[in-house]
Structure formats: structure tokens, C-alpha cells
């Protein structure tokens, strides 16, 4: 039976992922900065 649902690239999904990915990168940077080994601890 023929699938009548729309096929192809989903731009709304891409947009949501793009924003989410960018935010994830920024959060990664802040996480690394916050947990980074501190040289001043010695």
C-alpha cells in the first residue's frame, strides 16, 4: 500500500537541532571551564 505521508528533509527538525546543538556547545564550554583543573590550587 502506498505511503501517503510526506517524505524528505524536515527543516523544522533541522532548525530545532541546530539551535539545540549550538546551545549544547556553549554549555560544554562552560562546563569544561567550571570543572577544569585549577593550577592555582597548589
Amino acid at each position: 500500500m502506498e505511503n501517503t505521508e510526506a517524505k524528505g528533509f524536515c527543516w523544522p527538525g533541522f532548525a530545532a537541532g541546530f539551535v539545540g546543538g549550538a546551545i549544547l556547545f556553549v554549555l560544554t564550554i562552560y562546563f569544561v571551564k567550571a570543572t577544569m583543573f585549577s593550577l592555582t590550587a597548589a
Partner: protein, 362 residues
């Protein structure tokens, strides 16, 4: 149009990956200044000196690490108040007449651009019998009696840097004295009120009569032209707070930092000087205790310090005392410019400047 869930998830995955790497690209190019801001540059102008000469009066603060650490542990641990610890003053084979206490003290001769000179006595050691010998050996006792010491500078309240105060004040007690913010009442009592503590074995029968200045943290204090002081609110073992260090701007060379124990951490000290003092981008030399392996223990994190120091471009490292011989060995191996000593007057090794050694910056 209805959105297929599978297509949406595919788009989400592709978009997420693209967005992640797109932001990585932006952060290292267009948004670089936001993510990696330039280091602030110091703007406090302190002037210049022609040269300084540091004479190590004593860098052997104690003679047996195990005995010293044992004293603290038996008293309850490293954070116990130093004034209630019964330090070992007898029966230590390698000690001075059996006493484990020694002291840290340096004489700094400053030559200004106009040719005038000043002397700064930097800390005063611990064991008064040992310090009497050391001060006499370097002629500091006579300098004190002739009022030739222009400033008595105490880096911090630790026993090995400060408790020998009687050895200094009995020769001269009216010179200006500088202490860091953080001194406890016991510290001021020892300095000015004939403080006397039986348990740790410390006293001073010669109260200071000169002006005592307590220097706050958070700013650069200009002392003489080309000479400044900087204070840190460091919390240190044996319940001590606050430490200060001296900065000299040596003409045509750069900044030279003289430190007592460097409890603020060498990287913190270098960074703070770089960020606050004009010319801080060129730290020419550092002298004194760097507090990395004072008890000759080693932690992998210290390797990171050894790796971090070269980026400051220091040309001369006249370190000693609480730097630790293990650290000196590693620094020399890493190619750092550690100045070797002569291992005289109970300094154990030639790896760094020892008792009676001198170094000139400028």
C-alpha cells in the same frame, strides 16, 4: 503538512550536529573575543630601580621535614593554630644545636636610578639563636644597629618567617614595619606587646616602636620608586591568613618578584602581577620560596605547574626554601633558569640558592 516523526528526528540529528560544529567554528573565529577574552594588562605604574641584590640570610626554615610535619600532626593537624603547637626544639640531630627550627630571611639591597640605595629586611626567621648567627654572618646585625635598614617587611605570620622577630628588634626597633592584612592579635602582640608563648617557644622582649603598616589586598602598594607590594588573602596552614610579596621594576630588564613562601600559588602571583602592574607582561625574575614541594612530597598536579611556568618567560629563578629540592630538580630538567647555590651554612644541596648566597637582578 504533517511532519513525519522519523524525518523530524533525522532533521534534529543533522541540525544538532551542524549547530554544534557551527558554534565551535564561530567561537574560535568571529566570537573569539567573547569566548577567549584577552588577558587584562596591568596599568599601575610603579617606577623603576637600577638593580636589586638579594642576600639569602637563611632559607632553611627547619632542618628535618619529618619532625616538623610530626609536630603539626601530633597537635591535631595542619590547620591547628601555630601558637599552640609544641614545636620540637631539642634532640634533632641535623638541627641547630638540636633545635629543628631555623628560619627564612633575606636582605634586599635596592639601587635606585639616581644612585641612592635602600635596604629592606625581608622576613626574620624563626629560631632566635639560629637567626642571631645568620644575621651576624651577613652583617645585618650591624646594619640594624646603624639604622641602615629602611624597611622591615614581613611576608606573613608563619612561624618560620616571623617568630625570629626578637633577633631583629633587639638591634633596632624603630624602623618602619610592613605586615599583610590577616595578622592575628597574637602576631601584633609578638611585634608590639612583648608577646610570650611557652608551648610553641616564642617570645619578643623588644617591642617595635616604628610605624607598623598593615597592607590590604586587592591593590598595588607603592613603597619606593620602582618598588611595590601586593597582598593576597591566602588561608594558609597552621591558621595563618594573608601573605604579601615585593615587586621591583628593574630598568631595561622587567619585573622581579621577591616572595617569602608564595602560599598564594606561583601562578596566582604571576597572574596578579601581570594583570595589575604596568610592564607585567615581562616578568624578568622571581626570587624566594615558591611553595611547591616544601616537604619534598610530589603530587602529579605539580607537574602542571612546572609546565605552566615557562609561558611567563622568566629569565632568572632565584628560588629556594619551600620550593623544595624535588621541584628544583624537575624545573632544571624542564629547562627553567634555576640559579644554583653553594650549599653552605646548613643549606643541604646546591640545587638552588642557599644560606649566604647572593643574586643580583639588574
Amino acid at each position: 503538512m504533517a511532519v513525519n516523526r522519523r524525518d523530524f528526528l533525522k532533521g534534529l540529528a543533522v541540525g544538532g550536529t551542524t549547530g554544534y560544529f557551527a558554534m565551535a567554528g564561530l567561537s574560535s573565529t568571529i566570537l573569539k573575543d567573547t569566548f577567549l577574552p584577552n588577558e587584562p594588562v596591568g596599568d599601575v605604574e610603579i617606577g623603576e630601580v637600577k638593580s636589586i641584590k638579594c642576600t639569602v640570610v637563611s632559607e632553611t626554615s627547619w632542618f628535618n621535614n619529618k619532625v616538623l610535619v610530626g609536630d603539626m600532626m601530633k597537635a591535631g593537624g595542619l590547620l591547628v593554630n601555630q601558637y599552640i603547637i609544641p614545636w620540637t626544639h631539642k634532640g634533632v640531630a641535623e638541627g641547630y644545636n638540636g633545635d629543628n627550627s631555623g628560619g627564612y630571611c633575606t636582605l634586599i639591597d635596592v639601587e635606585f636610578l639616581d644612585g641612592t640605595k635602600k635596604k629592606i629586611l625581608f622576613d626574620c626567621g624563626w629560631n632566635t639563636a639560629w637567626m642571631d648567627t645568620c644575621l651576624q654572618r651577613e652583617g645585618v646585625d650591624k646594619m640594624l644597629e646603624k639604622d641602615q635598614i629602611d624597611l622591615f617587611y614581613i611576608t606573613h605570620e608563619h612561624f618560620d618567617h616571623y617568630w625570629g622577630v626578637e633577633s631583629v628588634l633587639k638591634h633596632c626597633n624603630d624602623m618602619p614595619i610592613a605586615v599583610p592584612k590577616g595578622f592575628y592579635q597574637e602576631g601584633y602582640d609578638l611585634l608590639c606587646n612583648k608577646g610570650h608563648w611557652e608551648v610553641p617557644g616564642v617570645k619578643n622582649d623588644y617591642p617595635a616602636k616604628g610605624q607598623v603598616t598593615t597592607r590590604e589586598s586587592g591593590k598595588v602598594h607603592k613603597i619606593f620608586p620602582g618598588v611595590a607590594s601586593i597582598t593576597f588573602d591566602s588561608s594558609i596552614i597552621t591558621r595563618v591568613k594573608g601573605e604579601q610579596a615585593l615587586i621591583f621594576n628593574i630598568k631595561d630588564k622587567g619585573l622581579a618578584i621577591v616572595t617569602g613562601c608564595c602560599h598564594m600559588g606561583i601562578i596566582s602571583l604571576l597572574q596578579e602581577v601581570r594583570h595589575r602592574v604596568k610592564g607585567g607582561e615581562k616578568i624578568y625574575a622571581i626570587q624566594g620560596g615558591l611553595h611547591i614541594s616544601p616537604f619534598e612530597d610530589w603530587d602529579p598536579q605539580y607537574d602542571d605547574l612546572i609546565l605552566a611556568i615557562p609561558k611567563y618567560g622568566i629569565e632568572v629563578m632565584g628560588c629556594n626554601h619551600c620550593t623544595g629540592y624535588s621541584t628544583a630538580e624537575k624545573m632544571i630538567k624542564a629547562g627553567l633558569p634555576v640559579v644554583q647555590g653553594t650549599a653552605r651554612f646548613k643549606s643541604k644541596k646546591k640545587l638552588y640558592l642557599g644560606n649566604g648566597d647572593q643574586i643580583v637582578f639588574g
